[in-house]
């Protein structure tokens, strides 16, 4: 399976790691007793661990390579993953979606308010993920400042409510529109940028919005934020906290269903295809008559719209917002959701959001290592499954006429 050469390489990696971590993990100076502890067992652990991991990666790579060779010679036929069968067969897909929807509808009756509340957060991230998925997954524009649009939505509701007593349902479309406007605003200067450069500029944009909110006291009340934001109204009836949460939960379910519906339609349309083409090859895309500027701006605007909507809902849910909720970390988490779940795959993004938001909630014990775990998960994904948990599959078409039964 593995050659001596590769064993050697892994050995080298483990030695290198042992050397790198030596000062941190082996030497421990006790300044009070003026002694030095040598924890050699740590070094052994690091060496053994990195050796195993590196070996594992190598085995995997060798297998991949073999599979690719055999595929090229035609003797290896790809097994179709079960997920793909389910997703490409409407019958299974509808059954699955129906079951999931049913489960989520009865969820609040089976679990506590606390759980429902967590679920609301998770659903908000599902929407954020689906929105960012338009920009990153479909159009291939790496946006690290997505949280800015989320903030725009949240602050538009908070400020409108604070100053003019505007209600939730009025603020929802306004927040969405404002976010879309900011999407276009960001889109214009970055039209010519791609990849790393785009990532850096969008990152900067996100920080600018946050810094403005933090420092422009007269406008946004600065770091102390805005409190006493109204919860969503329910035909003018005053709801208890518990009922408000229940209401918000069903509102979120409806919103998520709506988002899935819209994103799905968009994906499978003329613009959706143009986005994917833009991601695949910008020059060829233009040569096919696609207006790059218009397509990119649409992607930014539509992606931002969802962030704006979720922002309004967020403000209504917490009734208090301040700039600390809109740090880069949020953008990073949303991006992780998209990458982990599967770029361009709606189902993948939903799975990704549920994993990344629910797991940390239930594994509180590990909360100190949350970022470490995120990093590890992403690196592992990039090595073993770059297409994400649920890979995006292209729609297939059936033709009756000459050649029968493709797909």
């Amino acid at each position: 399976m593995l050659s001596i050469e590769q064993l050697k390489k892994s050995l080298f990696v483990s030695l290198w790691f042992a050397f790198l971590t030596f000062p941190l993990l082996v030497i421990k100076v006790d300044p009070i007793e003026r002694t030095v502890q040598w924890r050699w067992e740590n070094m052994a652990l690091v060496a053994a661990g990195s050796f195993l991991v590196s070996l594992l990666v190598r085995v995997f790579q060798v297998q991949q390579e073999r599979r690719r060779e055999r595929r090229a010679t035609g003797e290896f036929v790809d097994r179709v993953p079960i997920m793909q069968i389910i997703l490409s067969e409407p019958r299974y897909l509808y059954t699955l979606s129906g079951a999931v929807l049913l489960c989520s509808l009865v969820f609040p009756f089976l679990f506590s308010t606390y759980q429902t509340n967590i679920m609301i957060t998770a659903l908000m991230y599902v929407m954020l993920g689906l929105g960012l998925n338009i920009v990153v997954g479909l159009a291939g524009l790496l946006d690290l400042g997505y949280v800015a649009f989320y903030a725009v939505g949240a602050y538009s509701y908070a400020l409108l409510n604070y100053h003019f007593d505007v209600g939730f349902w009025m603020a929802l479309p306004i927040g969405a529109l404002l976010a879309a406007l900011f999407g276009v605003l960001l889109g214009f200067p970055v039209l010519r940028l791609r990849g790393d450069y785009l990532a850096i500029v969008t990152l900067g944009f996100g920080e600018i919005i946050r810094l403005i909110l933090e420092n422009w006291n007269e406008f946004s009340e600065g770091p102390s934020g805005i409190s006493n934001i109204s919860r969503p109204g329910f035909f003018g009836i005053e709801l208890s906290l518990e009922h408000a949460i229940l209401y918000l939960y069903y509102l979120m379910i409806a919103m998520v269903v709506f988002t899935i519906f819209v994103v799905n339609r968009l994906q499978d349309s003329r613009i959706g295809r143009a986005w994917v083409a833009l991601r695949e090859d910008e020059i060829a895309c233009q040569a096919m008559g696609i207006d790059k500027r218009k397509t990119k701006l649409t992607a930014f605007a539509l992606g931002a719209t969802w962030a704006g909507i979720v922002g309004v809902i967020f403000a209504a849910k917490t009734t208090f917002i301040n700039p600390a909720s809109f740090t880069f970390l949020e953008s990073a988490i949303i991006l992780c959701i998209v990458v982990l779940g599967g770029m361009g795959s709606i189902f993948g993004v939903i799975v990704g959001a549920l994993i990344l938001i629910l797991l940390p909630e239930y594994l509180r014990a590990l909360s100190d290592y949350r970022m470490l775990a995120f990093g590890a998960v992403l690196v592992t994904m990039m090595i073993f499954r770059p297409q994400g948990v649920v890979a995006n599959i292209r729609r297939s078409y059936q033709f009756k006429s000459k050649a029968e039964g493709e797909g």
Binding site: V262, R265, L266, S269, R270, I271, G272, R273, A274, V276, A277, E280, D281, I283, A284, C285, Q286, A287, M288, G289, I290, D291, K292, T298, L302, R394, R395, S396, Y397, F399, S401, K402, A403, E406, G407
Partner: protein
């Protein structure tokens, strides 16, 4: 006589201090297959890039005269997508398919500039959108039949063999409904059998009423197809004429075979 569909006058292109193309004139008449040949690095691809708006030429004019008799269009300064919309489509020497999209979708992208549904239509699936979508699929499929890729419609483009990828590039360009098609080395990497099929395909496309400008190194193919040949070397035109004239032109022989064999 009718005006040429593509009319290029004194086209020059500088990269920094290097003149990659020098005052090139070139005409393509309706229904013709014109070949642009020359040694490696002669500036052929650069010519395509200048004409299609990917580069902005330093000097010179590029005009399109649509065969339907409408007004001449000056292409200088237009963006590639605008050029395509005016009726000139191209393929790429280094294949530039949308790898992660299916074969059919690649061709459907070509329909983009001839269709118009947008966000509203996409979300609400209006009747107009549905009709447009159906037409897009049907037309794309018909083009794929024409180039012989009808039984791989749902394959990802990246999984196609090399020769099929080249044909898919042609199909994709045809989907934009061009009256002038620019092909950059369509036979590169093809085996003799595939090249022969390509020969047939290009003739068939011409017979459908398209004009074609072709860059190609395969001389057999060029001689069999072309009505007229332009030869460039170091960015300058060194000969033009019918296949017979060009193949006996001393300057061409010199450019292709080197100085010494001249005598």
């Amino acid at each position: 006589m009718q005006k040429p569909v593509l009319q290029v006058e004194g086209l020059s292109m500088d990269f920094g201090g290097i003149r990659a193309m020098c005052e090139l004139d070139l005409d393509v008449h309706q229904g013709q297959i014109v070949a642009l040949i020359g040694p490696n690095g002669a500036g052929k691809t650069t010519f395509f890039n200048c004409v299609t708006g990917i580069y902005n030429p330093t000097e010179g004019n590029v005009f399109l005269n649509p065969p339907d008799g409408s007004r001449p269009i000056r292409l200088n300064g237009l963006k590639p997508n605008q050029v395509t919309k005016k009726g000139m489509a191209r393929t790429f020497q280094n294949i530039r398919l949308f790898q992660k999209m299916t074969v059919l979708e690649n061709v459907m992208i070509g329909r983009h500039c001839r269709t118009s549904s947008y966000i509203f239509g996409a979300v609400f699936k209006t009747r107009a959108t549905r009709r447009e979508e159906r037409e897009t699929v049907e037309k794309s499929y018909r083009i794929l039949q024409q180039v012989g890729l009808a039984d791989t419609v749902n394959e990802l483009a990246e999984n196609l063999p090399y020769g099929a990828q080249r044909r898919l590039e042609i199909a994709r360009a045809l989907a934009t409904e061009p009256f002038l098609l620019l092909l950059d080395e369509p036979a590169a990497g093809m085996n003799p059998q595939e090249t022969h099929e390509l020969d047939e395909l290009i003739k068939q496309i011409r017979d459908d009423g398209h004009s074609i400008l072709l860059i190609e190194h395969d001389m057999k193919l060029v001689m069999s197809l072309s009505d007229k040949i332009y030869v460039v070397d170091y960015g300058k035109k060194i000969a033009e004429g019918s296949p017979r004239e060009v193949s006996s032109d001393p300057a061409v022989i010199k450019a292709y075979l080197g100085e010494d064999i001249d005598a």
